[in-house]
């Protein structure tokens, strides 16, 4: 016996991906419920660096980040002040000739695809970022990259969805995904034509067999030093870190906030469940950062914290239907690019739900591309 669903779509997870999906769903005329276990904009959305970047690990990654960046640029003027949208740009920093060759490869890659980039030699790099150590070889500036404060962006999307009739359930953990919706831990059920698992690093607990692993990261934020840094900086070793499947790695990554505070990262660890700060990882991460910015050590730091990214084996998110379940879709597995690609994800997800032609091919992100391990409906 089935009753007609209350909603067209129920989205599990109020992080930036779930929030962006909710906004896109209502924009497409769907009745939407969003269910968040803790707080809107929590999870990795709250913990991570809010960068909006293009990436070139693969054509699919580039397509999704580029598409998403365009969408962010389109919505930029509507975002409230507290989203702190700042087009500071990224500089990929080359410490040796090998990394400089990578700079040239990126320059070609991006130029061929219409992304404006600029190669910096040692001197231009020093002029662009005077606090970088001497002896670096150069870098690649990507001027259109930006930073935001993600929790407020998530709230913006949720408020937008609410304004058009979406129902928002906060502080309501989902116990399980059922055949026609979700059952909450408090016993209530929400039925929907489509269920979207956008629960980030918690998504495998709701969908068994999902190959999404927690990848822990560390961050430190400093006090205000307004002239210290102008661009987001990333070492070219970042890619080596993001690529690898080894247990733990650190890479230099730093981001300025509008107030002049600096967000220092990054680290990656698999197979760690505790959210406590790992002193040895923090050491390595900060030591690496100080290698690039020698005067960083003297700056005052206010907080250190961790977060969990949701990582997939092929570094691409899962956006689309789960073959084994008639109503279930995934929007998860965004690793370190969730903020950027939340908007592209939302579009591609809704394209598939309402059968609309997507702006970029969806195949690379389909859940069907990866085998689910013992696929079945799961209990939380």
């Amino acid at each position: 016996m089935t009753s007609s669903p209350v909603y067209d779509v129920v989205i599990i997870g109020g992080g930036i991906v779930g929030a962006a999906c909710a906004a896109e769903c209502v924009a497409a005329g769907l009745r939407v419920a969003i269910v968040e276990a803790r707080m809107i904009g929590g999870g990795a959305t709250a913990a991570g660096m809010g960068h909006l970047v293009v990436m070139d690990d693969s054509e699919a990654q580039f397509a999704l980040t580029r598409y998403s960046q365009t969408l962010w640029e389109e919505v930029r003027d509507e975002l409230p002040r507290e989203v702190e949208y700042d087009v500071c740009g990224t500089i990929w920093v080359a410490a040796d000739d090998e990394e400089m060759r990578e700079v040239m490869r990126k320059q070609q890659f991006y130029s061929e695809r219409g992304v404006e980039v600029e190669v910096l030699d040692a001197q231009s790099l020093a002029e662009a970022e005077p606090n970088l150590r001497a002896g670096l070889v150069g870098g690649l500036r990507v001027a259109a990259d930006s930073v935001i404060y993600p929790p407020c962006a998530a709230t913006f999307f949720v408020e937008r969805a609410k304004a058009r009739g979406a129902d928002v359930f906060v502080g309501k953990p989902v116990q399980e995904i059922t055949s026609d919706g979700v059952r909450l831990r408090d016993g209530t059920t929400i039925s929907a034509g489509v269920i979207v698992n956008a629960a980030g690093s918690w998504s495998p607990s709701l969908t068994a067999g999902l190959d999404v692993k927690k990848r822990k990261g560390h961050l430190v934020i400093t006090d205000r030093y307004p002239q210290f840094l102008r661009h987001q900086l990333v070492e070219l070793g970042y890619l080596k870190s993001a690529h690898s499947h080894t247990a733990e790695s650190v890479a230099f990554n730093i981001q300025p906030r509008r107030t002049g505070q600096l967000l220092i990262g990054s680290s990656r660890q698999y197979d760690v469940e505790e959210s406590t700060v790992d002193v040895s990882i923090l050491n390595r991460m900060l030591a690496r950062a100080i290698e690039y910015l020698p005067t960083l050590g003297k700056l005052s730091s206010l907080r250190a914290w961790t977060g969990f990214r949701a990582a997939t084996p092929d570094k691409l998110p899962l956006i689309g239907p789960v073959v084994e379940h008639p109503r279930l879709y995934l929007a998860t597995g965004h690793e370190g690019l969730g903020i950027t690609t939340s908007m592209g994800t939302a579009k591609l997800l809704v394209d598939q739900i309402v059968n609309r032609a997507p702006a970029i091919p969806v195949e690379p992100y389909l859940p069907a591309r990866v085998a689910m391990i013992g696929a079945e409906l799961a209990h939380a």
Partner: protein
Amino acid sequence: MPETVRLIVNDVEVTMPAGSMVSAAIMATGVSVFRRSVTGEPRGPLCGMGICFECRVTIDGEAHCRSCQTECRNGMDVRTDG
């Protein structure tokens, strides 16, 4: 131990009793605005005991020093950000 200490606050020489804190030296020059908040509001000391961070100034080139917790020393260079 010397009875007084001479330091420079915003390029002005100030003489203070030994053991005074930099916050007192700043206020002795008639300055009430120690720094600006994130939205540009003028701010000065609030708690006097090192926990509010509103008394921060640059001392000998180092930013964000809590002036209420820093003893005046001979030759110290203090800059407010009013």
